[in-house]
């Protein structure tokens, strides 16, 4: 009996903690999103909040913005991340004697910077009177502040996208670099034996090899940016706002009657992220990318 139940007992504390603290909260939110709110005398379940939400223009604008920001952030992170990985690779080539580790640490620096700080860095860099605009002015490329585009607190979401590109690109490179250094050994061999050009090698060996990891890393960035709060809260505009901020605005609107809608936004977000998570999990299993994830 003990033998059989032992692993379950060992799993119990962790699983119970997550169920209680995490799924409990989600369930609590789910009930309230159905209008079950005994504290204000509402005990009937209904879909009114979802109905209002799905018929409101601001929800759909928010959804559109969220998708756009997440898509562009992950795309930029993917491109920059790949460039960093390749750049690190070349650096390693030319500096064989030095320990490459320190360099790698340095280039992962943005990963360790808290999101709020990263967001503020983007504020200082890219506001109309920011550092980049000053540098451009010093080179004489712009003559006054307004020639610099509005990139922070802009309705399109550029500030948010730039922050994520900076912060998540090193994550993408972290996932790619090991693959690159694995095929690196065969690189010379192949070119020596077959005289194959670099370009051909890149197209036929490198790209297929890094593709799965690249896709999954990009996808993880997408899921993360889709549901993150701090950076859009700091760098977005009041309207339209990304879904997590939209939910928070409803949640703190000052009237309890907006709460079910706020929680309904949360539930929709949760459903989408679970779906995205399952897709990522499926492909990573299939391509065998995330070793150690189970």
């Amino acid at each position: 009996m003990w033998r059989k139940s032992k692993p379950y007992l060992l799993l119990l504390p962790a699983a119970a903690t997550i169920i209680l603290l995490f799924f409990g909260g989600i369930f609590d939110g789910l009930l309230k999103s159905f209008g079950y709110f005994p504290a204000i005398g509402e005990t009937e379940l209904n879909l009114a909040a979802y109905d209002r939400l799905l018929h409101s223009a601001s929800f759909w604008e928010s959804m559109e913005l969220t998708l756009r920001v997440a898509a562009l952030s992950s795309f930029l992170s993917a491109v920059i991340g790949a460039l960093i990985a390749v750049a690190l690779f070349f650096l390693n080539e030319s500096m064989k004697t030095n320990s490459p580790k320190a360099w790698h640490r340095l280039f992962q620096l943005p990963l360790t910077i808290p999101h709020l700080v990263a967001g503020y860095i983007v504020v200082l860099l890219f506001t109309q009177s920011g550092f980049v605009s000053r540098v451009l002015a010093a080179f004489g490329w712009i003559d006054n502040i307004t020639e610099f585009p509005v990139l922070v607190n802009d309705p399109f979401g550029w500030g948010i996208i730039l922050t994520y590109a900076w912060k998540e690109a090193p994550f993408v490179s972290l996932m790619l670099y090991p693959v690159l250094s694995r095929i690196h050994g065969s690189w010379r061999e192949v070119s020596r034996v077959f005289g194959a050009g670099n370009w051909q090698f890149i197209r036929e060996i490198v790209v297929p090899a890094i593709m799965p990891g690249w896709a999954i890393a990009t996808f993880i960035v997408f899921v993360f940016t889709f549901s993150a709060f701090e950076v859009p809260y700091l760098l977005g505009v009041t309207y339209p706002s990304v879904l997590p901020v939209y939910s928070y605005q409803l949640y703190t609107s000052g009237t309890l009657s907006d709460r079910p809608e706020a929680l309904a936004v949360n539930m929709i977000l949760a459903a989408i992220t679970i779906l995205l998570g399952l897709v990522a999990y499926y492909f990573s299993k299939r391509w065998n990318v995330l070793k150690g994830w189970g």
Partner: protein, 275 residues
């Protein structure tokens, strides 16, 4: 690649420096500037006013202390929860393992503020809001999966033979754990702890909802400044905040290195990545 490796890597080097280091320049300048009007690239004059405010305010150090305290408790709780769970999943046949994995890994995918907004009123009724305990409980879900994953990788490389050997030599459960299992897992635990500390340190929203102004961590103190407050002070706080996150990581890393040096163990495993 054969022709201009030197040039190419120089170019790569410069690009990387611009990407990683240059963004910190305006942050540093803004924290020590007095008058910094557009289009000056460098401030006209300098002042340590912002740093004086940040470093002399007792609240700053209180917030640093509370942030680290919460991160440490969260990490300690995570270790205690993750060790047995990872052990069970790696070394026992568990029916429905996908379910357990799905449960424990769920907070990586579903953003934790969703759960916290839902549970908020319940916490309020239980008297858990405005307390460090409440904030610790809120931080467990987003951090535990990373600890769990790191420990799981370590367990996967721990051969059951070693433990069996120790058992046959007559070692009892507890000494066996402390002398054989734990040393092997330590690198993984440290890797998980780094992530756990880092993630706990960077929480704003859930700390704010549950801490409700009474649990003032660094991000809570920082936020009013970065969202439209004094730029100099916002910059100084941002630098301090980033420095503490990095210091926590470097500290863990140094501990790990020291451990390797002391033990000269051949392990080269269990280092998890992080999104």
């Amino acid at each position: 690649m054969k022709k201009h490796p030197q040039l190419l890597s120089l170019f790569a080097f410069i690009a990387l420096i611009i990407f990683v280091v240059v963004p910190f320049v305006p942050l540093i300048l803004s924290s020590v500037s007095f008058s910094w009007r557009w289009p000056d690239v460098l401030p006209e004059s300098w002042s340590f006013r912002a740093w004086e405010y940040v470093l002399n305010d007792g609240r700053t150090w209180q917030a640093v202390g509370i942030s680290l305290w919460i991160a440490l408790i969260v990490t300690a709780v995570n270790i205690l929860l993750a060790l047995p769970a990872a052990n069970a999943l790696v070394r026992y046949p568990v029916r429905g393992r996908w379910l357990f994995e799905a449960i424990i890994f769920a907070p990586i995918i579903i953003p934790p503020f969703i759960s916290v907004m839902g549970i908020h009123l319940t916490f309020l009724r239980l008297g858990l809001t405005e307390t460090v305990l409440g904030v610790v409980l809120a931080h467990i879900a987003p951090t535990l999966p990373y600890m769990f994953r790191a420990v799981m990788i370590s367990y996967q490389t721990l051969s059951a033979d070693w433990e069996d050997q120790a058992r046959m030599l007559g070692a009892r459960a507890l000494p066996r754990f402390f002398h054989v299992v734990l040393p092997h897992l330590l690198p993984g635990i440290l890797a998980g702890a780094s992530l756990s500390v880092l993630i706990s340190l960077s929480q704003y929203l859930i700390t704010f909802i549950i801490g409700a102004g009474q649990v003032v961590t660094l991000p809570i103190l920082l936020f009013p400044f970065v969202s439209g407050g004094d730029p100099g002070i916002a910059s100084a706080y941002s630098l301090l905040y980033a420095a503490i996150a990095i210091a926590a990581l470097v500290g863990m890393d140094a501990a790990l290195k020291r451990y390797y040096q002391l033990n000269k163990a051949p392990q080269d495993l269990a280092k998890g990545g992080k999104p």
